[in-house]
């Protein structure tokens, strides 16, 4: 993928809880160590996070509970006021925005999906999805029309007059998704959207999410504590621990080239075939036989079945359909056997 323009940039973002947090960070040159923080009775939640989210990508922030991922995503939307650093959204520093400007940005350019759905119990599905538009002061008819479109998009048509407590968890989160999309946000935050769901439903919702993203092409920041979910959905992943980012990279990077022991620990048991692309094992410049071709950016696990019967190497093509190499059955089997 060509390096797209960065939609959201975090530069040395800190969030430290306690009195006089800004002062302490400034005094220590913008990078206080553990001892300084402890002495000032400050509790760090996000430490020196620098990252960029590119236009149209799914950027997953992965970390266990207490790693600071939820605080970080709330810093990005200024639900939580960062203690230090810069947050650039489409080139503009959000931390300089006035409350009025922030309201405007959130109303029109951001959407968020919450872990526990955050549906308003007193509103119907329709009312919930139309809520962000109601807040903007859009008229009754216009917002309901838009909301109905969104409800249809997430496959809940017919349930628009139901109330949240009449819906299953998966359906409730579909409402949450429809609501966050109602304003056509440029930047879409999803804070552990599927963590509260049963495993089977979670899987279904992940597929649904990928399907939506295929048509919508939003810029997405997706929070999860589930590494499998991260590699399934992400274009790029940032792994967080104790408020810091351990490593940022594609799923393949993290699995094949873990930067720290912590990342290695996480990625050790990941089946390689799920993260490696065909490009990583192909013979560049090799010539495949037959008319069958496979895509270079496909995951190996997705093409393994097609190579089972192949006796000779198969041609690999790039996104434009140009032949770039070939891959043999043995190479695939190797990866599968490595686990």
């Amino acid at each position: 993928m060509a390096a797209a323009e960065a939609k959201l940039v975090c530069q040395s973002v800190w969030k430290v809880y306690g009195a006089r947090d800004r002062e302490v960070i400034a005094l220590s040159g913008g990078a206080p160590d553990d001892a300084t923080l402890a002495a000032a009775r400050l509790i760090p939640a996000v430490r020196d996070v620098t990252l960029d989210v590119r236009e149209g990508e799914i950027f997953v922030i992965m970390g266990l509970s207490g790693s600071g991922k939820s605080t970080l995503v709330r810093c990005m939307s200024r639900l939580v006021e960062p203690s230090a650093g810069r947050i650039l959204f489409a080139g503009r520093d959000l931390l300089n925005a006035t409350p009025r400007e922030m309201i405007d940005i959130r109303r029109h350019r951001m959407g968020m999906v919450f872990q526990h759905f955050a549906l308003l119990p007193h509103l119907s599905v329709l009312g919930n999805v139309a809520f962000p538009l109601e807040v903007q002061g859009i008229g009754h008819a216009a917002r309901e029309r838009r909301a109905l479109d969104m409800i249809e998009l997430v496959g809940l048509d017919g349930r628009e007059n139901d109330y949240p407590n009449q819906l299953s968890g998966g359906q409730q989160q579909r409402v949450g998704i429809a609501r966050s999309l109602a304003v056509e946000p440029e930047l879409w935050f999803l804070d552990e959207p599927f963590s509260a769901l049963d495993p089977l439903i979670r899987r279904e919702m992940q597929d649904e999410f990928l399907r939506l993203q295929n048509t919508l092409r939003k810029t997405i920041v997706f929070i999860t504590h589930d590494f499998d979910e991260a590699i399934r959905l992400a274009d790029r992943i940032a792994i967080m621990k104790d408020g810091r980012i351990e490593q940022t990279g594609t799923p393949e990077d993290l699995v094949m080239r873990p930067a720290t022991p912590y990342v290695a620990e996480f990625t050790r048991d990941v089946p390689k075939a799920k993260v490696l692309t065909v490009a990583s094992i192909m013979q560049p410049g090799g010539v495949g036989e037959g008319t069958d071709t496979i895509r270079a950016d496909a995951k190996i696990v997705a093409v393994a079945a097609r190579l089972r019967e192949a006796t000779a190497p198969v041609a690999v093509v790039d996104a434009a359909g140009v032949r770039v190499g070939s891959v043999a059955r043995d190479a695939v089997v190797d990866v599968l056997l490595r686990g």
Binding site: R74, S77, L79, M102, I103, D104, I105, R106, R107, H108, M110, G111, M112, F114, Q115, H116, F117, A118, L120, P121, H122, L123, S124, G127, F131, P132, E134, V135, Q136, N161, Y163, N165, V183, F189
Partner: protein
């Protein structure tokens, strides 16, 4: 001091500290006993608080009130103008509702008044109440509520009941709206909440009578001042519940508000308040029930209605009339409670139904409202020509008065000796000795013991609080009366536990029995405190014994509820572990269930003490000589200083008991490794 407060956290403090606390206890108890036995000879000032040391708080307060009423000025208007303005704000809607329900609309004054519209017919009110029941709770509730109102008509209580209902209908919206606003302010500005908290504490512990004295002074005698008293009395719980309910809104919902770009006002009205609605409805129910309680008591400053009937009957010792009016209060209380609870439980279904029918015609959308209006109109028109439709004819009234008189008479004729013997036995062997013992205790020793208890249970802050509050009781000259209050309250609480704990133990493990017990204590807690006086005074005449019976009946509910809940909440695995280790059922009860339920039991005990304190004050009406009597006398003389000082003394007693017991419960929870109590 850091060391001494570390007792909270059970830090290893070593044997030295433990023995220090023990030594302090020994010293304080020893000194107290010494003072008690021989203090009169060498330190009489430590036994009875010397008159010369008293703070003339009564005179100060009276002087301030005088100044407020006669001199205070806010530039454009005086304080008296302010109270008159407030009175007018309440007076206008009150008159309207009273006319609607009871007196009818008239032009002119007194005997020259020309009636222009009659009040709502009894049929219209009964049907409307029934439809409210249908709307909020379904057919069963509709029948129940209609039956309650029908009872009021048939048994001749209609007029008084409508006067009481009018007061409540005015007091509740003011109380709810005021509480909501203060609660919102407290939620938004934590500093405001911190400032408000001690005031709310005081307002909820000062006895009901004490509210009446300054309000009588400021607003005069009449229904308006009784409504003012009711609003002031019923508002504090709404404030607290509002703050709690708003805090209880999940953080994600608040984040949602921010992320959708809500302004502050949108966040409050479109997100926070709707999301907190179930909690807020509990507050509304509380306001209704407290209003009813207060409106009955406020009959002493001119509320009229059912409370006045009871009061008049008590004064005449008219058994039949008293019990009839009392039952009418109970009926009204239960009907209002069920209605408001039904509204609290299921607001969502209704808004759902309303949404489904948004485009339907009015009749289909709001069938109950349309029916109610139709019935009101029809009954009004027909009532103009057919009198029984307008007002329930007196000739059809049933009265149970003579029946009750016969019952009480029969009991008195046949069982007087037994009842009297029992009463005297208790009086001579328990009540009088306890009263005498408490009265003779040296005040200085008690202050020291309370302070030490505060220190041992929580730390220096609680110790100072207990010492200062108890010292103030002594310094304002209320010690003797306060000890009588403690005696009445203490004995009542003892008997309440004696009855309540076994009942709770029995009911806790039996589903059927628990349902029945729950129904009974729910009902007991909805009844206005005044009602409890009626049967006991009929059977046992006036006096301490009667007072204690009424207090026990009023205050027994929480100890049953908390004990049973505590036992029922014990982790079943622990009980199984006990069974597997071969415990007998008795051992399981004493070694596992009761032990783990102890923190809850202590909280129940705390509630029982609070309730019994508030009831003890009301028993002044049946002739006790405690702080309540002091307030009551102040009320009859409109002596503000005296009333407030005595009222505050009761509040101080309540606060001391509450803080000590809450600290004890917290300690127990900590020791058992249980989660801290959720604010009840």
């Amino acid at each position: 001091m850091a060391l001494s407060t570390s007792i909270d956290t059970h830090a290893p403090t070593g044997p030295l500290r433990l023995s220090a606390i023990r030594l302090a206890w020994l010293a304080v108890l020893g000194a107290t006993i010494l003072l008690w036995v021989a203090g009169d000879r060498f330190a009489p000032w430590a036994v009875a608080y010397p008159r010369a040391w008293q703070i003339p708080a009564m005179q100060w307060i009276s002087a301030v009130m005088e100044w407020l009423v006669r001199r205070a000025h806010f530039g454009l208007f005086t304080f008296t103008d302010l109270t008159r303005g407030l009175a007018a704000i309440i007076e206008v809607p009150y008159r309207a509702v009273l006319s609607l329900l009871s007196t009818g609309f008239r032009i002119g004054e007194g005997s020259n008044a020309i009636p222009i519209l009659p009040p709502l017919s009894w049929i219209a009110v009964t049907v409307t109440a029934g439809l409210l029941g249908l709307y909020s709770g379904g057919r069963r509730l509709a029948l129940f509520v209609s039956a309650c109102f029908l009872y009021l008509a048939v048994f001749g209580q209609w007029q008084s009941a409508m006067v009481t209902l009018a007061s409540i209908l005015i007091a509740v919206p003011f109380g709810v709206a005021g509480g909501l606003m203060l609660g919102l302010a407290g939620y938004r500005w934590p500093a405001f909440e911190r400032a408000m908290r001690p005031v709310l504490d005081l307002m909820q512990t000062v006895p009901v009578f004490a509210y009446l004295v300054p309000i009588l002074f400021l607003f005069g005698f009449g229904p308006v001042s009784s409504v003012v008293a009711t609003i002031v009395y019923a508002m504090p719980p709404m404030v607290r519940i509002t703050i709690l309910a708003l805090r209880g809104v999940p953080a994600e919902i608040r984040d949602l508000g921010a992320m959708t770009g809500c302004t502050r006002r949108q966040l409050t009205w479109k997100i926070l308040l709707p999301a907190a609605r179930p909690g807020l409805m509990v507050g509304v129910n509380q306001v209704i029930m407290l209003s009813l309680n207060m409106v009955i008591i406020a009959s002493m400053i001119g509320a009229g209605g059912l409370g006045f009937d009871v009061l008049a009957a008590l004064r005449r010792l008219d058994i039949g009339a008293g019990i009839e009016a009392g039952v009418a209060i109970v009926v009204l209380a239960v009907a209002l409670d069920r209605l408001s609870q039904a509204f609290a439980v299921d607001t969502e279904t209704r808004s759902r139904l309303a949404a489904l029918k948004r485009s339907a015609p009015l009749v289909e959308r709001l069938p109950n409202l349309v029916t109610a209006l139709a019935v009101i109109l029809a009954a009004g028109v027909v009532g103009l020509f057919v009198a029984p439709v307008q007002s329930y004819p007196a000739a059809w009234n049933l009265t149970t008065g003579s029946f009750w008189e016969n019952v009480v008479g029969w009991i008195n004729v046949n069982y007087f000796d037994q009842i009297d013997a029992f009463k005297n036995m208790l009086l001579l062997n328990v009540l009088v000795p306890t009263k005498r013992f408490l009265g003779e205790l040296p005040w200085l020793g008690i202050v020291a013991i309370l302070a030490l208890a505060g220190f041992a249970l929580s730390g220096l802050r609680l110790a100072i609080l207990c010492a200062v509050l108890s010292l103030l009781i002594a310094a304002t000259g209320q010690w003797e009366k306060a000890m009588i209050t403690v005696y009445l309250c203490g004995i009542s609480v003892f008997f309440a536990c004696l009855i309540g704990v076994p009942v709770a133990i029995f009911a806790a493990s039996r589903e059927g029995a628990w349902r029945i017990v729950q129904g009974v204590i729910d009902t007991l807690q909805t009844l206005p405190s005044f009602v409890y006086l009626i049967p006991v005074v009929m059977l046992f005449r006036v006096g301490d014994f009667t007072a204690i019976l009424a207090v026990v009946a009023y205050a027994v509910a929480p100890v049953i509820r908390y004990t049973a809940l505590g036992i029922r909440r014990v982790d079943p695995q622990l009980v199984e572990a006990g069974i597997v280790s071969g415990c007998t059922p008795f051992q399981i009860l004493t070694k596992i269930k009761l032990k783990l339920a102890l923190p809850e039991i202590v909280l129940g005990l705390n509630q029982t003490i609070m309730l019994s304190l508030s009831m003890v004050v009301i028993t002044a009406l049946v002739g006790t000589r405690d702080l309540g009597q002091e307030v009551y006398i102040a009320l009859t003389k409109a002596d503000v200083g005296r009333g407030i000082v005595a009222g505050l003394a009761v509040a101080f007693l309540a606060i001391i008991a509450d803080r000590l017991l809450t600290a004890a419960a917290e300690r127990l929870r900590f020791r058992f490794g249980l989660a801290p109590a959720v604010a009840a």
